[in-house]
């Protein structure tokens, strides 16, 4: 198998995506889950860059890191807390 160093880097980042997704399900604190989601989106943007699609990387960085996390923080601050 002719795997280069970049391939192992992509595989490590994909593994981080799996870990972050599972962590978001099991974390009970909502703000911590939003922070983990921010890390998930950052790794996802790096994967897009690794796959030679910088267009999607910019959109992911703006829409994911900026917009979604910002909106989730606003929703967290304005909604009432369960449990």
């Amino acid at each position: 198998m002719g795997l280069t160093l970049a391939d192992y880097g992509t595989m490590a980042m994909l593994f981080m995506l799996i870990v972050a997704s599972l962590a978001m399900y099991f974390i009970r604190d909502l703000m911590h889950a939003v922070i983990v989601y921010g890390a998930y989106t950052l790794v996802m943007a790096l994967i897009w860059l690794q796959m030679n699609t910088p267009d999607l990387a910019i959109t992911e960085a703006a829409a994911g890191i900026g917009m979604t996390v910002m909106m989730m923080v606003v929703i967290y601050r304005t909604s009432r807390k369960e449990e």
Binding site: G66, M70, T78
Partner: protein, 140 residues
């Protein structure tokens, strides 16, 4: 928020964030990015500012009557640019504004695409800011 470092950094970074967003909008047809991503960056600059400095001061940057006008006229600009093709006897959004569309890779190449991107960018930026203000006001 009262944090000195946060306030100073956001105040210093705001023009650079907006400049990068405008750059991404203007170069949407020659480089990665586009009107949607660039407009989102421009909107995020204002959103970050009003998160740190408070919603009242953020509304002095982008008042409600300004966002209403930019939202509506961004869409109207897109339709007008699309109708250029129809006036020339071609399909909607046909890219025939200039006779020569320029050298590929330059800013003036692409004909109508860059002009459409400006309207889309303005529309996306004002929509994001309006969404944020509407959601924050329900905190009360």
């Amino acid at each position: 928020m009262k944090d000195f470092v946060l306030r100073r950094v956001v105040a210093l970074l705001l023009p650079f964030i907006q400049m990068f967003g405008i750059y991404v909008i203007m170069h949407g047809h020659t480089s990665p990015g586009g009107a949607f991503a660039g407009g989102m960056v421009v909107g995020l600059g204002v959103i970050g500012f009003s998160t740190v400095f408070g919603i009242e001061q953020g509304k002095t940057k982008m008042p409600e009557h300004v966002t209403t006008i930019t939202e509506s006229y961004g869409t109207l600009w897109y339709i007008l640019m699309g109708l250029v093709g129809i006036f020339k006897g071609l399909p909607f959004l046909a890219n025939k504004l200039a006779v020569d569309v320029g050298v590929p890779g330059e800013l003036t190449s692409g004909g109508l695409i860059g002009l459409i991107g400006v309207g889309v960018g303005i529309r996306v930026a004002s929509t994001m800011v309006t969404l944020f203000f509407t959601m924050m006001e329900e905190e009360a």
